[in-house]
């Protein structure tokens, strides 16, 4: 079955430390891949997306993600976390190449400690 997995429900990182949020998908072909961020009480904001080409994609707010086909992964990274990065992060996938509906992971809540 097609699915998106974010193994970490909650992560705490010290301010200034690096961050990696994990995302794995289950699908036979390469899907379209997205990372969204949701601040408390807010809607979802797109951080970055991968459709094809260079497997390392740059996004907003200093985030990047790397698509690894062999691992069916699309992990989100940031070299130095700021307190304002505390939020919930969602990996999302479009599985059907002819469709547009997003399938979301359960999300990872990021806390930033000082």
């Amino acid at each position: 079955a097609q699915s998106v997995t974010q193994p970490d429900i909650h992560i705490t990182v010290s301010e200034g430390a690096s961050l990696e949020l994990r995302c794995n998908y289950s699908y036979g072909a390469t899907p379209y891949l997205f990372w969204y961020v949701q601040s408390p009480g807010q809607g979802l904001q797109l951080l970055l997306k991968y459709f094809s080409g260079d497997t390392l994609v740059q996004g907003i707010k200093g985030f990047e993600a790397e698509f690894k086909r062999s691992q069916s992964s699309f992990n989100l990274r940031k070299p130095s976390v700021h307190w304002s990065d505390a939020a919930e992060y969602f990996c999302a996938v479009v599985f059907n190449q002819a469709g547009t509906a997003l399938i979301f992971g359960k999300g990872t809540t990021l806390s930033v400690s000082s």
Binding site: P31, Y32, F34, Y36, Q42, G43, L44, Q45, L46, K49, F51, F90, A92, V94, Q97, A98, G99, T100, A101, L102, I103, F104, G105, K106, G107
Partner: protein, 115 residues
């Protein structure tokens, strides 16, 4: 700065009442999505439209939920009658509809509480 707008932002109602949520997609976008977010299920697709026609509403409880696009600038999601289990945040998103796997732009959501 084009944005998806949703009204109301918050709604508290009693079980059995009708609830109507509205969404104004970004001007020029022709795909509209409704998602629901709960603690238990996370974010799940309820329905989506392209050029105002429903393409997929398989995620929506048909007996009580209905989604429509009366015109290109308005999408509505209705629940009648509402139940406590419908309490959730309902997000509308829109996309330009030019490519598959296009970016979706989300509204701020309607937070619904059914007592």
């Amino acid at each position: 700065d084009a944005r998806v707008t949703q009204t109301p932002r918050h709604k508290v109602t009693e079980m059995g009442q009708e609830v109507t949520m509205r969404c104004q997609p970004i001007l020029g976008h022709n795909t509209v999505f409704w998602y629901r977010q709960t603690m238990m299920q996370g974010l799940e697709l309820l329905a989506y439209f392209r050029n105002r026609a429903p393409l997929d509403d398989s995620g929506m409880p048909k007996d009580r939920f209905s989604a429509e696009m009366p015109d290109a600038t308005l999408a509505t999601l209705k629940i009648q009658p509402s139940e406590p289990r419908d309490s959730a945040v309902y997000f509308c998103a829109s996309g330009p509809g030019r490519t598959n796997g296009e970016t979706q732009y989300f509204g701020p959501g309607t937070r619904l509480l059914v007592l």
